[in-house]
Symmetry: D2
Subunit: 391 residues, 4 copies
């Protein structure tokens, strides 16, 4: 808080839950330490949002997890004074992993109350204690413990009278269910079907408004049955022409925009373009002459940092390395690639984590192989097995 520009309501929430009432106490403006600690000493919980923007450890941890989950990972940190509770019982629209860091916390977890709350699309409002029944799990977590709440499970946590609690909650799988993919897929599938299958372009029956619609829904009319069967048969036909790979790439594109950039170790940096010691010194540019050879061994910096997507006639390469640690602070990052480079990039993707030599890239010539490798290296997307050294 001292060094960083932490804003109440943006990066930090001050909350209480007592006597069944959940309240937020954020003042406007920047959160300065004296003020924040004063709230804490008065029994308020502090929720630090997106600690990945402030902590390199959290950034690294989440960027590795997101690769594993194929879905954005977020986090919040919670500091709760002894003997208090900061939040009302509720469920979230994400899978949650609570990692206890300091102190202890007493947790109660409850079943979803009805079928439509199982694996829900949206987070709940706050529940009253009466509404949630008996917990299915009750536990006190201590530093090093991890607690997992699946999406939709109601939960609440409070501090024991004699000790505070500090934990981080990692979340993932927000809007990442089959239905979310179908939201992207169905309009595209219908468009393909209309363009390619004349049955979708045939006119509706002249009289369909006379037997379909709410005002006719109680009619006993064979035309209704035929109409409904026709619609059902068309929907089933859609399954055959759905452009699934294209819809997956739309989701992938969003995921790459959501992603944290990878966190590089100093050793890793030395093997990327960031390790080249090019600089301005003594009134001149130094050490910029680096070159790959046919045998230079390369690989992608990380699995999942790039994605090839078709966009109309052209082919775009989306990538995560220039994203910000602050969610969506940067626009989606991509560049257009030559169609003859697609095979080479796919080869690198599928070879990961193995190193391959430049001349093994499926390109038309060694010049093309070197050009592609150097281009991806300069963009910061490749590691070389040995650091490239200036001539």
């Amino acid at each position: 808080m001292t060094a960083n520009d932490v804003q109440f309501g943006v990066n930090l929430d001050v909350t209480t839950y007592s006597n069944g009432k959940r309240e937020t106490h954020n003042p406007p403006g920047r959160a300065l330490p004296l003020v924040v600690w004063d709230y804490y000493k008065n029994g308020c919980s502090l929720r630090l949002l997106n600690p990945q923007a402030f902590s390199i450890t959290v950034w690294n941890f989440l960027s590795v997890l997101q690769e594993h989950f194929g879905s954005m990972c977020g986090a919040n940190t919670y500091l709760t004074p002894a003997g208090t509770q900061g939040f009302a019982p509720h469920y979230d629209d994400i899978e949650a992993f609570v990692i206890q860091l300091e102190g202890k916390k007493h947790w109660r977890v409850y079943n979803p109350r009805k079928n439509t709350d199982v694996l829900p699309q949206f987070s709940s409002d706050n529940f009253s204690q009466e509404a949630i029944g008996e917990p299915i799990l009750e536990a006190i977590v201590e530093p090093g413990d991890v607690l997992y709440f699946p999406r939709g499970f109601i939960h609440q946590g409070d501090c024991l009278p004699d000790t505070h609690s500090l934990h981080i909650t990692v979340s993932s799988y927000q809007k990442n269910c089959w239905g979310d993919l179908l939201v992207k897929l169905l309009p595209a599938a219908l468009q393909v079907a209309i363009e390619e299958d004349v049955e979708f372009r045939q006119g509706l029956p002249l009289d369909y408004l006379d037997y379909m619609g709410m005002q006719n829904s109680d009619m006993d009319d064979s035309r209704r049955i035929s109409f409904i069967q026709k619609i059902q048969s068309l929907i089933k036909k859609l399954a055959e022409c759905a452009p699934i790979d294209i819809a997956v790439d739309q989701k992938a594109k969003e995921f790459l925009h959501d992603c944290l950039p990878p966190m590089l170790t100093k050793a890793e940096r030395a093997h990327t373009v960031h390790g080249i010691p090019a600089r301005w010194e003594n009134g001149a540019v130094q050490d910029t002459d680096v070159q790959m050879e046919r045998g230079t061994l390369i690989r992608l910096l990380r699995h999942g940092i790039i994605r090839i997507c078709n966009e109309g006639e052209s082919c775009l390469l989306y990538y995560t390395t220039d994203n910000s640690r602050v969610y969506h602070k940067e626009e989606p990052k991509y560049f257009e690639i030559d169609l003859e480079h697609v095979d080479g990039i796919e080869f690198l993707i599928h070879s990961y984590p193995k190193y391959v030599s430049v001349d093994s890239l499926p390109c038309e010539s060694l010049d093309e192989q070197l050009a592609l490798a150097m281009f991806l290296f300069e963009k910061g997307l490749l590691l070389t097995m040995e650091p490239l050294t200036p001539a």
Copy 2:
């Protein structure tokens, strides 16, 4: 043109087609007769758009047709000088009926050139003569003749050297195919499925981005097959829960907005609220006391002028009688109705064109029956078999 505010480009187009080139010659502003006739005398075709706004006959004709088609009917009128052609060969996105009024016209009609042009969604650009091949129909139409081009058939018409042509073209079935209904139905069906069927809310596989998407489309991986089958099975499930009647009502609502208002004859007016002689005279209101009895015989003014649609919790009655003769000049017209009036209104819709007595309406009491009948009568939606007369 003398009495009405006819605007070039809005109500009237001035066109030529000669030496394979189609041109529009609209000057800006209001079309005054001297200027328009000058274009005509110089060989230009005149296309009067939406004659239903200027001619009662056309209005009446189209308003009857739209009821029959369950889809908006439009019209244009074409006046072409002898020995000229006004338009290049093309096809339209509507069913077209050409009715010859004066003079003669030589028409040529051609097959769609490829499967995806059959029953097309969108009109074509202009074709060159070379591109369209041999006509499948060639005919000279004379006053009283009607020519029908199905959606997608290429056509061109030109005048004989010695006689001009005046015809009206009636169109219908724009955006009225099964695909257009599915555009409304599928998002609603998916929303229902996600809310009601947990299978749609289950998370996507952790690793699906590694084998799905364009960059993986050549992979030989059993996970791809399973993923595709899962998607296809979910799409087929959609067929079962699709809210078809609700989607039909969305289309019906748009149709009622598109509709021309009904054209009433003087005799018909006498049987509606417009026939009540209420007026201001001699410093006082005269003849406003009209009442229905239990035995008053009533019916809807026209089939298709109202539509019951559910909107969230409430029930709305859309109607066409306050529409303008100019397309979409008025917002969609509707009022909310009491849920206990729904049965009575459905009864009137399904009884049409028979008259029914007020006390046969399925309402809870005679008071309710009279209230509903009087309400619809005052809105101008009902005919009484006998004109209501003031007390």
Copy 3:
């Protein structure tokens, strides 16, 4: 109301004022006679807005008045049942002329309550009876009487117990004061001054923020005095370079957009382009050959129907004849004119109402004279002394 589409809240207001409370009772939608008369019989006042759109007499009257006032004239018609009052005491932002048509009305007029209410820019809220003091005028008006309230005078009118009242109120001079012209003039004057006078472009004093502004307003500092004198001297300089004619034309342009179109008598129409008997008959165009001669006598149709305005490099002629009787239903109407026609048009404007011969127009040649005269005639802006007859 029977023939026209009168909408509650748009064309008709239903109001009451009783026990010191003013209420509006507009239902939604179209105003049908039975419903409207029912309100009236229950003691409601009816205010018909913009009767000029429905009555040719009112249209003609207002179009003549607007020429006289150089400012838009509007009107409302008020029908009030015996023994009631429709509106609370208030003042308006316009000059008002009440013309009694039927029955009688009892009026009370009050002085503005404070200096800033004299000739106000905005209408007042409703006043309570206590707030307005004693009337300075109290009168009963009868058919044929006219009552004038200057802008800002508080007024209220109620019906005698035994007779209703019908009157029309004509308004003018809304936003037509010196300040309204200065709102247009000052930004233009400042822009000219900055471009032309380097004193306006000189930098502000380095330290002005230290002695100017609210936090320094109590400082006794000679720099404050100099700064204020400098600003005052710059403002006074503005007076010299203010482009007054250009600002007046901006107001004129708005006025022409606000204007009603002129109402032509049948006799007048015969002398305009609308009198030419051009028509479609027997399959051919008839009677379109009309021509002016050098001696044809012409004049503007009406004073004030056109206005020449410079817009950047080009010269536009704004005109009112294609306006709608409904306020601002049409966009501002204008066309670009050749710079060599400006003198001819100014000559016609300044000659009005005298007829002048075509060859007296200050143009370069007879051809130009005929072209200009015929152009304005075809646009419907000129009268010929004798009707033009087809060859």
Copy 4:
């Protein structure tokens, strides 16, 4: 560039000027060192925009200058290869100070070409060599030299054949002339005049459109003279009621938004709220108890970091300390202050740079004095002469 996210076109421009042609060569995306140095080695100039966001030295220097100028100070850094020129001759809308850092540069400065280019409002396009005549100043600058171009002076600089050039250009006084203040002042002055002086609310003459405006500008009519005199007299009246302090505060408010935040030395920080060692340690909050006494000596952190502005009924304190080093990245920062604190804050502003004791603040009680001092201290706006130490 290695550590920071430098974007082409946002933070860095790559340019050339040769054979009279100025070109920009920015590729899309992030500027990585290898690519940038490659451009430089090929003869391109590099312009690093807003070095204050990357260099603490520049930030500090500009933040001190802006206080002195009362106007935002910006900067760009230019690196030019030997024997090249990066930019075409042009003039800018700011006062420019060139500070040579490395190498040498040959500069030529030219007089404004016409009166309206003296102290211009807007920067010029690029000039050809032919258009600018002979320089009035020609010089070679070396490290440590400073060159000043007043607003509007045309200039160009190129490198000697044997040495590169690195310089920083500091700019100020953009949109900071008397005219810019009048743009804010005049609408407010007119609004005051209309509200307070009935002469501004009087109606325009009935017939003014007949003798004013372009079409009447050649008329010899005494009414024109009176009208013009009336307008001039009203403009002169405006000088008397112009709310100058309010308009200055509008400019001040914008200036505070434009400002860089002050750069604090480590020693200075120790005397502000940022020096309090409050922290989380051993599971508890440490060292947050700090208090002022009546004799604590305080002063504003910097002159010009706060500004009191009236906004309607309330009083806002704008401040610069939470601004970003990136221009306008943060919204304007302010908080509302109690009216009884205004005198105290003005006292602190006018006492700067002297320290004053808390009990010398013009507040109603010691409690108020302590509350105000502590409030400003916690916001980071005050220095204490001695660091406050926790109890």
